[in-house]
């Protein structure tokens, strides 16, 4: 100790001043450039939202929810069939994508050995699925529907197309959620004599639910806004009945908006705008739900 203090003559050297603080001219310029980019993005979005809102304002009434669409009387047309159709198709999508996606992810994360050829094959396919353009899924679903002898413009075919579309997202989100579950939890469970299956279903998956739910909801909200793959299923734009089952015909909101926006009458343009607002609100609500779930569970940790 004495040796240490003896060596120190005079006060310590002051700490060096930062050479790369926020005050530098170049960093200021860079910061301003960043802000401008951000402002531009927000501005475009705001203009879009405001004009859509102004256009659609007049038609944001109960008729939008209760009336069917119409070819001849745009002033009384509504999005009832599209709203119900969206609900049906998204439900079908969720029923297919969640079990398959979670099962595939669980297999890859918890059971497959890293050297297994089958696991690598599955993994490669998941990556490939993610890279396929959305419209191809529509063709695939149409072909599948025709192959099993059901009409292609049905809820189930739409569900298949969208489930394929979001499957890679669900799988990736689930794998990440499973990976975030501490290894100690699995060890503890196995050391108590639980089987690997029990460990998965009672410990690992429940612990991963927030992550899975967040990823899945985001994927579903993306599917909700998707029109391209469904358009390929054909004959969906003019539906004047409530879908009532998996084999029912249907239309969805993006398709309805697409149809209305392509028509020349001002009323249809307004309808398209108001339906867009509704779709936007739905997507925002879903995304908000995902954020709430994530925050709730990350706070509980």
């Amino acid at each position: 100790m004495t040796a240490l203090t003896a060596d120190r003559v005079g006060p310590p050297k002051p700490l060096a001043t930062a050479a790369h603080g926020e005050k530098g001219l170049r960093s200021m310029a860079f910061l301003i450039a960043l802000w401008l980019c951000l402002a531009f993005g927000i501005l475009v979005l705001a203009v879009l939202l405001v004009t859509t809102f102004l256009d659609g304002r007049e038609r944001m009434d109960s008729g939008l929810f209760t009336n069917y669409t119409s070819q001849i009387a745009p002033e009384t047309a509504g999005a009832r069939a599209a709203i119900l159709g969206t609900a049906w198709v998204i439900l079908t999508t969720a029923l297919m994508a969640i079990p398959i996606g979670v099962a595939a992810a669980s297999y890859l994360e918890e059971f497959a050995s890293r050297t297994s050829r089958f696991a690598r094959f599955v993994e490669l396919n998941v990556q490939n699925l993610a890279a396929v353009p959305a419209i191809i899924y529509g063709m695939l679903a149409a072909a599948a529907a025709v192959a099993v002898g059901i009409p292609r413009n049905t809820v189930i075919a739409g569900g298949i197309a969208l489930a394929l579309l979001i499957l890679p997202v669900v799988i990736v989100a689930t794998r990440e959620a499973l990976r975030a579950v501490p290894q100690e939890i699995r060890q503890a469970s196995l050391a108590l004599g639980a089987s690997p299956m029990q460990t998965l279903s009672r410990q690992t998956l429940p612990a991963a639910v927030p992550g899975i739910a967040t990823g899945t909801i985001l994927a579903l909200s993306r599917a909700m806004g998707e029109a391209a793959p469904l358009l390929l299923l054909g004959g969906l734009v003019f539906v004047k009945f409530d879908p009532n089952g998996f084999l029912s015909g249907f239309t969805t909101m993006p398709i309805q908006i697409f149809d209305w926006a392509a028509r020349s009458q001002v009323e249809f343009q307004q309808l398209a705008a108001s339906a867009s607002i509704l779709l936007l609100v739905l997507v925002i609500v879903l995304n908000g739900l995902a954020i709430v779930i994530r925050n709730k569970y990350s706070a509980a940790r």
Binding site: A191, G193, R202
Partner: protein
């Protein structure tokens, strides 16, 4: 609580017997002692006379991680109702040996065990043995307390539930286990609260409670006190002395005083570089009564280690 005469047929019990403890108490074996090699006995690692009945017997056990041989030819017996301490410098393979005793190392890809580890004379690595059943009989407590993200009650009830133990009243099982782990009085009013709300020492005792809830015969502990303060450590040590009446305990520790205080027998491991390549392979140097190891060790390396001269 624990019945010393567990049935020995692990495979038959694997799936269909929900209560592995309803066995004939006279079924019993001392077979492991007779399978010891004469060299091992000569080397002092096995005491042929004074041995209590062995619950677990290792004969020439080597453990590999892929091509790397982490531990070489360990031969030792774990006596019933004894506390056996495994000591030695870091990386000498104590945890590796411990994990191989209840097949937890099966979970690490590429692990391989040669030699035999027998539980009441039955090879736990035999083809027809269910590792799940092995782990039910031989429980494990880890270095870092690892409660489930559930309530205190659910943490304890989990094992009996998944192993399909027939219990008339789960509340009683939970209370009995928490009492057994000397935790009941501290948590009896907050059983439904998250286990994460407990202190580190309490969490570790909860992990012990959770382990004894499935009524294993052996409890393996890998440095159970290394994350705890001296007071919590003392409580766990007291608890071990208490548990020893009903269970057989194997503990890995870096704390010499701890080994000297609690263990009946102590095994000293060390790792030395092999001749051919630079791999450090762990092996058992000396295994004897704790009093002998600490007062009059038979090997210089043991003496150097416990007196703090190396490792």
């Amino acid at each position: 609580m624990s019945d010393p005469g567990h049935p020995v047929d692990l495979s038959a019990l694997a799936a269909d017997d929900p209560n592995p403890h309803a066995g004939d108490p006279t079924v019993n074996t001392t077979a492991t002692v007779t399978t010891r090699t004469p060299e091992a006995i000569q080397a002092g690692r096995i005491d042929p006379v004074e041995r209590p009945r062995a619950v677990l017997g290792c004969t020439d056990v080597s453990v590999y991680y892929g091509d790397f041989r982490a531990v070489n030819e360990v031969t030792m017996d774990i006596g019933v109702h004894e506390i056996t301490a495994l000591i030695g410098p870091s990386g000498c393979g104590k945890s590796t040996v411990l994990r191989s005793l209840n097949r937890m190392n099966d979970l690490i890809p590429g692990t391989r065990v040669t030699g035999t580890i027998s539980y009441h004379g039955q090879d736990i690595y035999a083809k027809d043995v269910d590792p799940i059943e092995v782990r039910r009989r031989i429980g494990m407590v880890f270095q870092k307390p690892n409660p489930f993200p559930k309530s205190i009650y659910d943490n304890v009830a989990y094992g009996p539930k998944v192993t399909g133990m027939k219990t008339s009243n789960m509340d009683d099982v939970v209370e009995e286990s928490l009492r057994g782990a000397a935790l009941w009085d501290e948590v009896k009013d907050k059983l439904k609260q998250s286990a994460y709300g407990l202190s580190g020492g309490q969490q570790q005792r909860l992990c012990i409670a959770r382990t004894i809830a499935v009524k294993p015969e052996v409890i393996l502990m890998d440095e159970p006190c290394s994350a705890l303060d001296p007071i919590a450590t003392a409580r766990i040590e007291d608890l071990m002395m208490e548990l020893k009446k009903d269970y057989t305990i194997v503990i890995v520790t870096h704390n010499m005083q701890q080994a000297a205080r609690v263990a009946d027998r102590t095994a000293f491991f060390t790792a030395e570089a092999a001749e051919g390549n630079g791999d450090r392979t762990g092996h058992l140097v000396e295994f004897d009564l704790t009093s002998k190891i600490f007062s009059n060790p038979g090997d210089n390396r043991t003496e150097d280690y416990i007196s703090g001269r190396f490792g």
